[in-house]
Amino acid sequence: MAYSEKVIEHYTNPRNVGSFAKGEDNVGTGIVGAPECGDVMKLQLKINPANGVIEDAKFKTFGCGSAIASSSYVTELVKGKHVDEAMAIKNTAIVQELNLPPVKIHCSVLAEDAIKAAITDWRKHQEPAVESADAVPARTAQEG
């Protein structure tokens, strides 16, 4: 199978590989996939509790080149975005950017799930009052 140039580029020079220090505040962690399926993505988002903006992102991925590229791209994509915006990212955006073939679409789905899992994890650790402080109208999960 031939890989798109963008997949190769992300695979060769992955952005934001790593993990935040244990116990660091304001970090949401999403781990999706399973080893027996051949894909596990860990996405960590550092989110400003005051305004809900994603300030930093890190990933580690066990999976094929397209899975690595998808998670690398996602770390770039979410930085600077509000959590609600990030929740609305769809896998098709990843498919388009990386030119993923049909057999690799599951990699983009996993990356989308990782964003949602990381934000959900972050929200769990926030005081309910803080999260809705900026008074953005509540959006439903389905919308994302």
Partner: protein, 406 residues
Amino acid sequence: MVKLPIYMDNHATTPVDPRVIEAMLPYFTEKFGNAASRNHSFGWEAEEAVDRARNQIAALIGAKSKEIIITSGATESDNLAIKGVVEFYKDKGNHVITCVTEHKAVLDSCRALERTGKATVTYLPVDKYGMVDPDDLRNAITDKTVLITIMYANNEVGTIHPIAEIGRIAKEKGIVFHCDAVQAVGKVPVNVDRDGIDLLSLSAHKIYGPKGVGAIYVRSKGPRVRLTPQMDGGGHERGMRSGTLNVTGIVGLGKACEIAGAEMEEENRRLLDLRNKLQAGIFERLDEVYLNGHPTARLPGNLNVSFAYVEGESLLMGISDIAVSSGSACTSATLEPSYVIRALGVDEELAHSSIRFGVGRFNTGDEVDFVTDRVTREVKRLREMSPLYEMAREGIDLKTVQWKSE
């Protein structure tokens, strides 16, 4: 320095040996006759060439030349053996015994017989090294068993089955024994009499011959084995396989067999050295690397290893100037990891992490060094990127983790 890319996937196919090409060339041009043309010199010349090749093929496996039937390759040989025996001996029984790690050409032929109601099939398990237990075979035999089909050596993990013992059991019980010996012929000494083989499939392109030609050995005596042809036509190949003979291909197959026979001992020593060097290099430089297949009863050029915490396809991508293959699901359309590796009882995660190296005639020590360096470097890079490696380092038992997957 080595020339890139490096080809180290010699179980998949092999380059044609220049000596084989040289032997084939005249049969494309001035000696182009049809071996079935009985009334002019063009035909006689072609027929002589085919006869010579048949002798060369027979000599490599200890057979008689008239027992060699030419086919288009091992897939056709396997189909002819399995379907041909079951159809011919249908009054005697309808039970076939094979093994879970066989090549798809064998497994799918068996499935086709099951689907059409022509046979029931027992799929023998293998041990953790990929080897069939002869006692399991004994226990699976019924008074309806007409065929045992077990490969000589496995194409993924290189494990060599106890073929002579299987042959003895088949003989004892009077059951036809077919052996898909594609990976073994020309690589390890194969002898149809010593090994008790009644039908044997082989292919040219695995032994530095051309693609599109192979053969099936059909025992003529003790017992004489009969087959129902699967290709009808002009009655070529003693009626067992009609179709104008691929003379150039056959000449190539013959020459490839001759070379393999003459050089096997020396070549095996060399391949074993290279393979062991590759294995030692990888195991010395990396932790958590696991050998798939039998530690000793294994093809000399085969090395199949799982690099824990690294997915196989991503590793292949990182070593793109080296041609090897992976048992990872991502390299197949099915999204399932290799059924062969799984049959050994290897965890699915490690099956996804398996890489097969196939060292062959034209590989060098420098290439092995280069491959060792590239592979170990890439595995280390990918492990730094692997959440599983990180978790394992933190002492988390990955088996106890509740994974969220769809």
